[in-house]
């Protein structure tokens, strides 16, 4: 990040003094061998990373007995959607899914709105105490979430929000990382954009809402992705803020399923199908915004 072209030139010069040039032919054969080895290595690694998910998909389509005896084959001998049928027709799975969807929707909307408001204020509005506010937000980022399990329960309980949507959603509505991202983005927007609107008499909120916020699409998408992924995959907060079955989220429900409290025997197809469906929304979001996620850095350095 801090590598300057000066340092690079220096290293290049240092390197050029140390190693002698090989002949052209040696160079070619050597790179070709390396290329083949590189691709072979990459393919093997990619298979290692992908194959667990392929095993998961195929196992979810097997009957229980076959899943237990033949854990590795990618093509089921007997195809069955019994696991999915059971999940959707004869279990609380649809309720878990709906709860996860509700919480994720509100948390994502809240985080996007509040993070951009605060980010804009911290980047552009001059007010006494701004530095302190920002320092406080940064300090908050340093507090480990796991340490907050008991504290959060205490407050949610005291406020009478235990076992309610309010208790599930409100504490997650704001995250410091989002504020940080938005502040960084707004600082990169030229001031001249706002000056024109300001002279035309636009108020601060109007300026923020109709001029600056529409420009912030790249940063907003980043926060949407992070919030969606974060709240959809959140587990510990829901463990400590709810207990009733009708407020169970996917993560909590599937975790219970996995530890065997709701099921008899191993029932691997059922568990893996539940975990698979749970992965699909984040996977879809990931593939839609793949370019953005993968090349986040490339966009950021362009002037």
């Amino acid at each position: 990040m801090t590598g300057t072209s000066f340092a690079k030139a220096e290293i290049a010069a240092a390197v050029s003094r140390k190693w002698e040039k090989p002949t052209r032919q040696r160079w070619h054969t050597r790179t070709l061998t390396w290329q083949i080895l590189l691709y072979a290595l990459l393919v093997v690694l990619a298979l290692i990373y992908i194959s667990p998910f392929l095993v998961q998909i195929s196992t979810s389509l097997k009957p229980d007995a076959e899943a237990a005896t033949d854990a590795i084959s990618l093509i089921p001998q007997t195809w069955t959607v019994a696991a999915y049928e059971r999940l959707f027709l004869r279990s609380d799975f649809p309720i878990w899914f709906a709860n996860s969807a509700i919480v994720t929707l509100f948390v994502t909307l809240g985080r996007v709105f509040f993070a951009s408001l605060a980010g804009y204020a911290l980047a552009r509005l001059h007010f006494r105490g701004r530095g302190v506010v920002f320092a406080a937000v940064v300090a908050v980022m340093a507090v480990p979430t796991v340490v907050l399990l008991i504290p959060k329960f205490l407050v949610i309980n005291q406020l009478g929000m235990y076992d309610s949507y309010a208790g599930m959603i409100l504490p997650l509505l704001v995250d410091a990382a989002g504020v940080f991202i938005m502040k960084n983005f707004f600082e990169s927007v030229p001031v001249s954009v706002e000056e024109q609107a300001r002279i035309d008499g636009a108020g601060t909120f109007r300026l923020f809402w109709s001029v600056v916020l529409p420009m912030a699409r790249p940063a907003l998408i980043t926060i949407v992705i992070l919030s969606f992924q974060g709240s959809w995959n959140e587990l510990s907060h829901f463990i400590i803020s709810t207990q009733s079955p009708e407020l169970t989220t996917l993560t909590k429900g599937v975790a219970r399923l996995a530890s065997g409290q709701l099921s008899q025997g191993t029932q691997y197809p059922l568990k893996l199908a539940a975990a698979l469906i749970m992965t699909i929304p984040v996977a879809v979001l990931f593939f839609i915004f793949q370019r953005r996620i993968m090349n986040a850095s490339e966009g950021a350095v362009k002037e």
């Binding site: 190693w19 001059h126 530095g131 993560t251």
Partner: protein
């Protein structure tokens, strides 16, 4: 991170003009964030601090009259008294320390390795490879744990693959034996020397501390490396792209082999990212909770118990709220201290050799020209 905090000192500036009303707007814009962080972060931490010094039993308000201040009793119970709470806390620390010791270096090395592999501009299908490596990172820890419980079950895929090459795999998530002890047992050492078994720390003998992660914990370690290497790979790719390829290309044209280019050209420039990855890894690894809750609940033989899970189970399952809160605060202290320590180890020295060489450069260039 704290370096970016800017203190706006604009005392001399007149208020009014186009900047009129900004103070009000500024506070109004930041109010939602401040209020929510205050109510659900600052207040809770203070409440939990009180609970960690009290004998609150979970019924009623922790501030009601029949809750007493007990001083450091809760902290003493888990660190000094030598009873079951101390032994559990020691076990949890031991387990998590091995987890950190193995996961942090492995995930850092692997993610850097993957980033270097897929960062080449000439690489065909590099998007595909990146996607494959990153995908496990988007899945939830619950989903991935469910998958892992299946893959590492007694007759699961991993053991079938091991069986194909003639290795009898263990019953991963039910095997409490430590891998260091197992390795020593393979060469005939089954009992530790008296120096290690005679004394100990937090209710465990030194021999127990050195037993290594249990086989069950090793499966969690592999899982952590599998799921986090993609995220950190992206951080390293970002850093590598900011470096640009010119220096590396120059070194390549000059005949430096890949190994030399990596160690002498690339790695020194990646220092800030390396620090970020190590710190995030360290912080994350001391917070293992979801996986344990979903998977083993601390078993077998408490060898996958972690401080985070112990804090939860002490408070929510055993109703020992004071001890649960005390564990949480000790865990917090461990994370803060280790992060500061790491920052200190990896700090930028005032005048490093690397920096010093920058200033020698012009003279040497002249020599080359001559």
């Amino acid at each position: 991170m704290t370096a970016t905090v800017s203190a706006p000192r604009r005392a001399g500036r007149p208020s009014g003009g186009v900047r009129r009303g900004e103070a009000v707007a500024g506070w109004a814009f930041t109010a939602p964030v401040l209020v929510i962080l205050g109510i659900f972060l600052l207040v809770p931490v203070l409440m939990a601090l009180w609970v960690s010094f009290s004998d609150w039993s979970g019924r009623g308000s922790p501030f009601s009259g029949n809750v007493n201040f007990v001083g450091l009793d809760n902290y003493a119970a888990i660190t000094a008294e030598g009873g079951l709470p101390t032994r559990d806390f020691g076990t949890a620390l031991r387990n998590n320390a091995w987890y950190v010791l193995l996961v942090v270096p492995l995930q850092t090395a692997l993610s850097l390795f993957l980033a270097v592999l897929v960062n080449r501009a000439v690489l065909r299908g590099r998007g595909l490879f990146r996607t494959a490596f990153y995908f496990p990172s988007v899945t939830s820890s619950v989903a991935i744990t469910v998958l892992w419980l299946f893959l590492f079950s007694a007759s699961g895929a991993v053991n079938q693959i091991l069986g194909a090459v003639g290795i009898a795999g263990p019953n991963w998530f039910n095997d409490p034996s430590g891998v260091v002890h197992n390795a020593l047992g393979a060469v005939g050492v089954t009992d530790g020397p008296a120096a290690l078994t005679g004394s100990g720390f937090l209710g465990l003998t030194w021999w127990d501390w050195l037993s290594g992660p249990s086989v069950a914990m090793s499966a969690f370690i592999l899982m952590a490396v599998f799921t986090t290497s993609g995220t950190f790979m992206l951080l390293f790719i970002a850093a590598l792209q900011n470096l640009g390829g010119d220096v590396d290309e120059a070194a390549m044209m000059d005949g430096a082999n890949a190994w030399q280019r990596f160690w002498r050209v690339t790695l020194p420039q990646l220092r800030p990212t390396l620090f970020t990855v190590l710190t995030l890894g360290l912080i994350g690894c001391w917070q293992v909770f979801d996986q344990i809750y979903t998977g083993t609940q601390g078993g077998p033989g408490k060898t996958t118990l972690t401080p985070a899970y112990l804090s939860y189970s002490a408070a929510f399952l055993d109703q020992d709220w004071g001890q649960g809160a005390a564990i949480a605060f000790i865990l917090f202290a461990i994370i803060v201290i280790l992060t500061i320590f790491q920052r200190w180890v990896l700090r930028d020295r005032p005048v490093s050799k690397r920096r010093a060489r920058q200033y020698e450069l012009p003279q040497k260039k002249k020599e080359v020209a001559r």
